[in-house]
């Protein structure tokens, strides 16, 4: 039944009425500020509840500090402090200080007081942050829940004073509002940044806690030293396992395979090149003159055509052609793996186990973006529970992912790997059981997260396949270890078998044959020798 037959057609409105409505709507149409959007949708950024908000705030600040120190070539030295506000159980003062390069005074308000403001979005390079939302979102959250402004200290060198700012965010305009700006000649550090946010939160230990996050962070960043002053209990120091800094990841140009139409248009507008061929060669990686010509040929465009004159229909053809021409895989120096040895050191430092294995895969590509997978496994020992599902530590660009495990490509890869081959029990479609910690790191210039809160990696088949291959590689090594240990157990059991049962044979023969004690001892000695000999044979 068609609805048309039932509902009468709406009464025709007069031209005048329609015009009035359009004007009325126009009066309401205005830019929606990102900050405003955030206040309504804070769950998208990881501030859904007080417990998670506390974690997210710490995480954003620490991620920024790690990115900054790495970029400046400084061995990260970070201090995290989390203290409840006296008298308010659900309020905390979070302070994070780093020894990074510091932020120029002019930029400080925008960096901390404006959403979508940052240095990383426009560059294709492996980094923890991407969009420039995180820390200002944390500041905004603090402001919204406690009304307290953000306090920031930053100093770029001993020769310059430290700048101290108190900031608010004007959510209407997405602009910072500086409440106070002072210069301090005398600050504790020569360079670095400190941020302090008062926010509503709930502190809890265990999984998905700040403590858990920092511990995992220490595993994936063995070059970092971090002191942590928790809300309760002793101060914790995560010391560095290496003094070597991670190899700085290079910035790369986009690869033709991963570019979207809108991005192509942006690149064309921003390019200084005048002709299509030159543009392709200059702005994309792995595009030579020959490849550029092939692309143009596919798009039925003259390579010498002026960029400015490319029409909309031609643009679409060009975009389609980008995906059709055979192009070399993107360069992989934009990736900075942790490395097998450092994964091992990181794991040994934070997880008590009997055996550690790790592997770093060669880079691979999904949708034109280079990525690589690293896996580490800590197995056995007395501290890891023997019968529970294994702990899965997920990392994207060295950042621990604590939420949405089951939505993540890493989880998918781990549950679709056949662990029974490696002597582990595994319920169907679940993580294996056993005394195991799985460490999985996905590094990429652009990690495809399932949401802005960066909690799970999207299910790209290429990524899942690489993770699974790395898991299998480590699984085989662990299986060897398990098999060795089983053999040793059997050996020990056999030995104790001989020792515990031979005397009984001696006793029984003594009883039946009325042997003397001395003869009994002789029987036991001879039998033990005979059995030991046969066992070795």
């Amino acid at each position: 039944m068609s609805p048309a037959t039932k509902t009468p057609a709406p009464a025709a409105t007069s031209d005048r009425q329609r015009e009035a409505a359009a004007y009325e709507m126009a009066a309401r149409q205005r830019e929606i500020s990102v900050s405003e959007f955030f206040t309504k949708n804070r769950h998208l950024l990881g501030f859904d509840n007080p417990k998670k908000a506390l974690l997210t705030a710490v995480k954003e600040a620490v991620d920024n500090s790690l990115d900054a120190t790495e970029e400046a070539g400084v061995a990260a030295d970070i201090a995290v402090s989390l203290k409840p506000v006296p008298g308010c159980e659900d309020r905390f003062v979070m302070a994070v200080q780093d020894n990074g390069p510091g932020i120029v005074a002019k930029q400080m308000p925008s960096v901390f007081g404006r959403l979508l403001y940052g240095s990383k979005f426009h560059r294709l390079r492996q980094a923890r942050g991407q969009q420039g939302i995180g820390i200002s979102a944390a500041a905004l959250y603090g402001l919204l829940t406690t009304g307290k402004p953000v306090r920031v200290w930053s100093r770029i060198s001993r020769r310059q004073p430290c700048h101290y700012l108190e900031l608010r965010i004007d959510t209407q305009k997405n602009r910072p509002e500086v409440l106070k700006h002072e210069t301090l000649d005398d600050w504790e550090a020569a360079h670095g940044t400190k941020i302090e946010i008062v926010l509503e939160g709930r502190y809890q230990k265990g999984r998905q806690s700040v403590d858990d996050y920092l511990k995992q962070c220490a595993i994936a960043n063995p070059h970092m030293r971090l002191s942590y002053d928790p809300p309760e209990g002793e101060k914790v120091l995560f010391d560095r396992a290496t003094s070597a800094l991670p190899v700085a990841a290079k910035e790369i140009r986009p690869h033709p395979y991963g570019v979207e139409l809108g991005m192509l248009l942006d690149m064309m507008r921003a390019s200084k090149s005048r002709r299509i061929s030159a543009f392709l060669q200059a702005e994309f990686s792995r595009v030579s003159k020959r490849v550029a010509e092939q692309i143009c040929q596919h798009a039925a465009l003259d390579p010498g055509r002026s960029l400015k004159l490319v029409a909309a229909a031609e643009l679409e053809r060009l975009h389609r052609a980008l995906g059709k021409v055979k192009v070399m895989a993107p360069p992989t120096d934009c990736l900075s793996p942790i490395g097998r040895d450092l994964i091992l050191q990181g794991l040994k430092k934070e997880v008590q186990a009997a055996c550690y294995v790790a592997t770093t895969r060669s880079p691979a590509v999904y949708r034109g973006n280079p990525f690589l997978v690293e896996v580490g496994i800590a197995y056995g020992g007395d501290e890891l529970p023997a019968e529970e599902p294994v702990r899965l530590y997920r990392f994207a660009n060295r950042v621990p992912l604590l939420y949405q495990q089951s939505a993540c490509a890493v989880f998918k890869a781990a549950t679709t790997t056949d662990w029974r081959k490696y002597h582990l029990n595994q319920p169907r479609g679940a993580l294996p059981l056993g005394p195991l910690v799985l460490f999985v790191h996905v590094a990429s210039a652009w990690v495809p997260f399932t949401s802005e809160s960066k909690e799970a990696i999207a299910h790209y088949p290429e990524i899942i396949k690489e993770i699974r291959l790395a898991l299998q590689e480590c699984g085989r090594e662990v299986a060897q270890h398990i098999a060795r240990r089983k053999r040793a157990d059997v050996e020990a059991k056999k030995r104790s078998y001989i020792d515990s049962f031979i005397p009984h044979i001696g006793d029984a023969l003594k009883d039946i044959l009325r042997l003397k004690q001395q003869e009994r001892e002789q029987v036991i000695r001879t039998l033990r020798a005979v059995l030991e000999k046969s066992r070795k044979a």
Binding site: I505, L513, V530
Partner: protein, 385 residues
């Protein structure tokens, strides 16, 4: 049972030198096996224990012998790291047996299981494990002509009931003095066969033993003094006879050289299970059948032909009955060895009906005593083998 108490150390005077001689022989056999083990050990060789291979493939039926016999195949358990535990347990169990003979005591499977609890590491965690070791020892010593009862491991199950012209010569459990038990003097009750019958002796003038399937029929015949009229001994089997009942009937019939007539239901269970087990033993325990089989047994009834001749009330054969009958015809060496039985089973299958011992009550409660049994007993040579 309660009258028995454990004697420590001192040997008792025994009723009859026969039982004592037997015990001495048993101990000698145990020592023999242990000495073989000890000899190998002192030579620096791995000791071994030989038992008959207990599988149906190692069983045959010899019509002349009259029972299922274990074949010549042996399984040899050589001491190794993997067998050291069972090996130790087997020897310990043998030592326990010897001790029990010397103190004139006995143990049921359950008793023995609890005795092992003070063996430290060699103890058993489940009775099934100690039972298995006991079965091994039984099989091992069956090669030396000994039964489990002679090793003083008694079954938990009690024997059947006996009434009739029989004097059983036993001994008192505590004093060891000889006592005579007159099976005619139990009134409305009956003599109960003990777990171990090896030491019993018999005195009787009876002409035959009537082995009866059900307790009900036994009671009827005993209460009406059927044994007096026919000069017989009545034994109740209550289904498939226990080891003690089988051994009792065997020893009795051998000692006084009288035939055994089986009176059971006419169905595949009564024929292929109860009667077959009584006469030739079971395939599972072939290594001990020669002690427990009753070669002097023959089948009085109820036969399939009786169903027709006496027009007995019947019930249809159930699916399991048919299956059991066909299985017996196809696989059971006993039926393969007797043409008469094949014909009888075929007839039973053709009739598709079964009849119970009590079916004669159709013609009156005492019909079975006054008509059926006397008529049958006139010509024992016509009984099925």
């Amino acid at each position: 049972m309660a009258t028995r108490s454990k004697k420590t150390g001192k040997k008792k005077a025994r009723a009859g030198g026969l039982a004592e001689r037997r015990d001495q022989e048993t101990v000698a056999r145990i020592r023999e096996v242990a000495r073989d083990v000890h000899r190998k050990v002192t030579r620096g060789q791995k000791p071994e224990l030989k038992t008959p291979l207990r599988s149906l493939a190692n069983v045959r039926y010899d019509r002349k012998l009259g029972y299922f016999e274990i074949g010549r195949q042996r399984s040899v358990r050589t001491l190794s790291v993997n067998t050291v535990k069972t090996f130790a347990q087997t020897l310990k169990m043998m030592a326990l047996s010897k001790e029990m003979i010397e103190t004139d005591d006995f143990a049921t499977k359950r008793d023995a299981y609890y005795v092992t609890k003070n063996w430290g590491e060699a103890r058993f965690d489940e009775q099934a494990e100690s039972d298995a070791v006991m079965d091994d020892i039984e099989a091992l010593f069956s090669l030396h002509g000994l039964t489990r009862e002679q090793l003083r491991f008694y079954p938990d199950e009690h024997g059947g009931a006996v009434a009739g012209e029989l004097v059983v010569i036993d001994r008192d459990g505590t004093s060891g003095a000889e006592i005579e038990i007159d099976c005619t003097r139990f009134g409305s009750g009956a003599y109960s066969i003990p777990s171990s019958v090896e030491h019993l002796r018999f005195r009787t003038k009876a002409r035959f033993i009537l082995a009866i399937e059900t307790g009900g029929m036994f009671q009827r015949l005993a209460a009406h003094g059927f044994w007096r009229k026919t000069e017989s001994i009545l034994v109740s089997m209550s289904g498939v006879p226990t080891r003690a009942t089988r051994r009792f009937i065997r020893r009795l019939s051998d000692d006084v050289r009288i035939p055994v007539y089986a009176f059971v239901d006419c169905d595949p269970y009564g024929i292929a299970n109860i009667y077959r087990t009584l006469k030739v033993g079971s395939g599972n325990a072939a290594h001990v059948n020669r002690f427990f089989c009753v070669p002097r047994a023959s089948f009085l009834g109820v036969t399939p032909q009786d169903i027709i001749d006496y027009d007995l009330p019947t019930h249809p054969l159930k699916e399991v009955d048919v299956k059991r009958a066909r299985d017996a015809l196809k696989n059971d060496p006993f039926f393969a060895g007797h043409k008469e039985w094949q014909e009888a089973m075929e007839l039973l299958l053709k009739l598709g009906r079964r009849a119970e011992q009590q079916a004669f009550a159709k013609y009156g409660l005492d019909n079975v005593m006054t008509e059926y049994l006397p008529a049958k007993l006139k010509d024992p040579r016509a009984f099925l083998p």
